[in-house]
């Protein structure tokens, strides 16, 4: 497969690992931000091949995992409203809220649909003019432009039966919150390539300078990540703080201007509670006033929703890189992918799910 096989070449990977084992001496705690990267690292067994000085911690980059319980409860309540079709991405349907997940609501009679794109949800609205179609919009800056496009089209077509429950979040404020925390241990970062493809990487430059950490922008294939780790470790060793783009086939400093303009037109930046991390200032995207009439939260006034979190789940610490998934007392015992207590055990991008899926019972990296 072109553009994939080249980035999975075993000989190059072994050479990079060799160089890393030779050069990495100074202990470094490296956070890969994106859950997709976490999965590649575990899927290819890269975590166990790293030298002892390199400690990987997994970041909050799973959009499903960080979506607040209150929003999931709200989505479930909207889905259970008569006449509503609620559409969202696959992973989101299985994340437990206070009273179960959206697939459970579907089993109880709600019309919940899995879509691959916000435009598919828009199509549902066109096809079912007598039903209210609500798109539960989760995701980072990667999926926000597609939601924005769906909203703009709905406005242009005067689709009265389409609305959006906005749960989009922004990565840089979360990174800032992690690095600024008093107990932070992260000393180098691998930034999420796909978010940077949309937003560029200029937002990370002031963060790198302020916290004195190297940030490398990397893709999602094994070689992308191995090269990213190698460069981050080298920069950390040399005491350099700055941003390096190792994903130039997708990312530029400025990013995708058209997508950014669309986000700017449809959304406004707002404070947002992250599951396990608390409220992070300026980290969410709400609908702009011009699109307020398409806001499902306003269209379906449900009043105050009291969210109930599991008291056992330590997802917050996992999402901040403070706790490795398999070090959680509930890991793979009380909390499993079949009966998840927290979102990281659900999503295909969640760190806990990655540990169960690729490293259960072996304790990936724990031999170090």
């Amino acid at each position: 497969m072109r553009y994939l096989d080249e980035f999975r070449d075993a000989a190059t990977a072994r050479a990079l690992l060799e160089r890393l084992r030779r050069d990495a001496h100074r202990p470094v705690t490296l956070m890969e931000v994106c859950g997709g990267q976490t999965h590649t690292l575990l899927r290819y067994g890269i975590v166990e091949l790293l030298p002892p000085a390199v400690r990987l911690v997994h970041g909050p980059g799973c959009p499903v995992c960080v979506t607040g319980v209150e929003l999931i409860d709200r989505a479930r309540a909207i889905a259970s409203t008569h006449g509503v079709i609620l559409a969202s991405f696959g992973d989101m349907l299985r994340v437990p809220g206070s009273h179960g997940d959206l697939l459970g609501a579907r089993a109880a009679g709600a019309d919940v649909r899995l879509v691959l794109s916000p435009l598919d949800a828009l199509q549902l609205a066109r096809a079912h003019p007598t039903r209210e179609v609500v798109f539960f919009a989760v995701g980072f800056e990667t999926t926000a432009p597609a939601t924005a496009l769906a909203l703009r089209l709905a406005r242009e077509e005067r689709l009265a039966n389409f609305s959006v429950l906005a749960a989009h979040v922004r990565v840089p404020p979360a990174i800032e919150a992690i690095l600024a925390a008093p107990d932070n241990e992260v000393t180098a970062l691998i930034a999420a390539g796909h978010v940077c493809a949309v937003m560029g990487f200029w937002e990370y430059e002031p963060l790198a300078t302020r916290f004195g950490v190297p940030v490398v922008v990397a893709g999602f294939e094994p070689l992308d990540l191995l090269l990213g780790i190698t460069r981050a470790v080298a920069a950390h060793d040399a005491g350099q703080a700055g941003v390096e783009n190792l994903y130039p086939r997708a990312v530029t400093r400025e990013g995708n201007r058209a997508a950014q303009a669309l986000i700017g037109e449809v959304f406004v930046v707002a404070d947002r509670p992250w599951r396990g991390l608390g409220v992070i200032p300026q980290s969410g995207l709400d609908l702009a006033p011009a699109y307020a009439d398409l806001d499902a939260a306003a269209r379906f006034p449900l009043g105050e929703i009291t969210a109930v979190e599991s008291t056992v789940c330590r997802a917050g610490e996992v999402l901040r890189g403070r706790l490795r998934p398999d070090a959680c007392p509930a890991f793979a015992s009380a909390c499993t992918p079949e009966h998840p207590l927290g979102a990281p055990m659900v999503s295909s991008e969640g760190a806990c799910a990655a540990y169960v899926r690729f490293a259960a019972g072996r304790g990936a990296g724990s031999s170090r």
Binding site: M1, L4, R8, A10, A13, R14, L17, G36, L42, R43, Y44, G45, I46, E48, L49, P63, V64, F89, G90, D91, M92, L93, R94, L114, L116, V138, G139, F140, T142, T143, H194, P222, T336, P337, E338, S347, S348, E349, V356, R357, F358, A359, A360, G361, R362
Partner: protein
């Protein structure tokens, strides 16, 4: 495959009515003119099929088929209902002897559609060399079915001397796979979601007994177990084998063949082809010294052209499947929880 004209004139009843399942004249017409026209009329009209069992051990299996859409590239629910059951028999080491088929029809289903399904099932049965000897139809109200559900039950004759079970797996055994994985599931998903690829992906649905027969012949019946990796895909099948044998499986990830378009589609959708369903593949576990002959036999058959030895059985990590990749890293292969869902970003 050219389709004979539907024998029930469309002008009469273009769609399935509740009355088609009511036991009266309409139901008899449906059975006579549609089902029996496709499957062939039995010698005697009876409530069941009476036969003298052939010599040797018999295998019996049953399976229900629900798939949306009913038609997808490479196959359809009718062919699937036949192949699925004859393949389950083949995994018992049994040649198919006879099939029973029950159809649950949804009110409003186009008779033309039903004819295509029934005709396809009949063609698949002929391809598998097995008669459909008895059956049943029921009609449910509109909205209470997905067009058509089919349940097939098969009886097969086990090849003498063959006894297949996970408990027979031994350390040092070789694990063979008969070809590329993931085609069926991706073909169905692409048809369901309206995704098109420049290289069309077709279901691999096929009757496996002929392939099993050459494998059993080439190895003198030394095969320890056979499994067709349908729902849950190759990964789930390997996990079941490891658990059943209470032994470990060591899989060479690079040896597992995945067709380039299937791999690309899975990348795009965030799916793992190892967990995607197949309908014309088998996994065989057999003594290591028989592996070369087994591989040659599989590769000599059109259905096993891309067969490969994908791993070995070990006493280490009992009950677990570990895949080693070209980087030297390993991953534990776990059974899927819930369904595979497309990724977000």
């Amino acid at each position: 495959m050219s389709l004979p004209t539907c024998p029930i004139p469309l002008g009469d009843y273009p769609r399935v009515l509740l009355a088609h399942g009511g036991g009266g004249r309409l139901m008899h017409r449906l059975i006579d003119e549609l089902f029996l026209a496709a499957f062939g009329a039995p010698a005697t009209r009876h409530d069941g099929h009476v036969f003298t069992p052939p010599a040797g051990a018999l295998a019996v299996t049953t399976d229900s088929f629900v798939v949306r859409p009913l038609f997808f590239p490479g196959a359809d629910i009718g062919a699937l209902a036949v192949y699925g059951t004859v393949n389950d028999l083949a995994m018992c080491g049994a040649a198919p002897h006879a099939l029973a088929a029950a159809f649950v029809l949804e009110e409003g289903l186009a008779i033309e559609t039903l004819w295509r399904v029934v005709h396809s099932a009949a063609a698949a049965a002929r391809a598998a060399g097995v008669p459909i000897v008895t059956g049943d139809t029921k009609v449910v109200e509109r909205g209470k079915g997905d067009g058509v559900f089919i349940t097939t039950t098969g009886v097969g004759v086990v090849r003498p001397g063959v006894e297949l079970a996970p408990a027979h797996i031994r350390p040092g055994d070789a694990v063979l796979l008969s070809g590329e994985v993931g085609n069926h599931g991706v073909a169905v998903m692409a048809a369901r979601e309206g995704l098109t690829f420049t290289a069309p992906i077709e279901s691999d649905a096929a009757p496996l007994w002929p392939l099993v027969e050459v494998l059993l012949t080439a190895t003198g019946g030394a095969v320890h177990v056979l499994r067709d990796p349908t729902r849950g895909g190759l990964a789930t099948t390997l996990c079941e084998l490891a658990a059943g044998a209470e032994l470990g499986l060591e899989i060479d990830a690079a040896a597992v063949p995945v067709a380039a378009p299937v791999g690309a589609a899975c990348e795009l959708l965030g799916l793992d082809p190892w967990y995607v369903a197949n309908e014309g593949k088998l996994v065989a576990v057999l003594p290591g010294d028989h592996a070369p002959a087994a591989l040659a036999a599989l590769r000599g058959h059109p259905l096993g052209r891309d067969a490969a030895v994908i791993g070995t059985v070990t006493e280490a990590h009992p009950g677990r499947v570990v895949a080693r990749n070209a980087l030297g890293g390993t991953r534990v292969i776990e059974m899927l929880s819930g369904e595979q869902l497309p990724r977000i970003c």
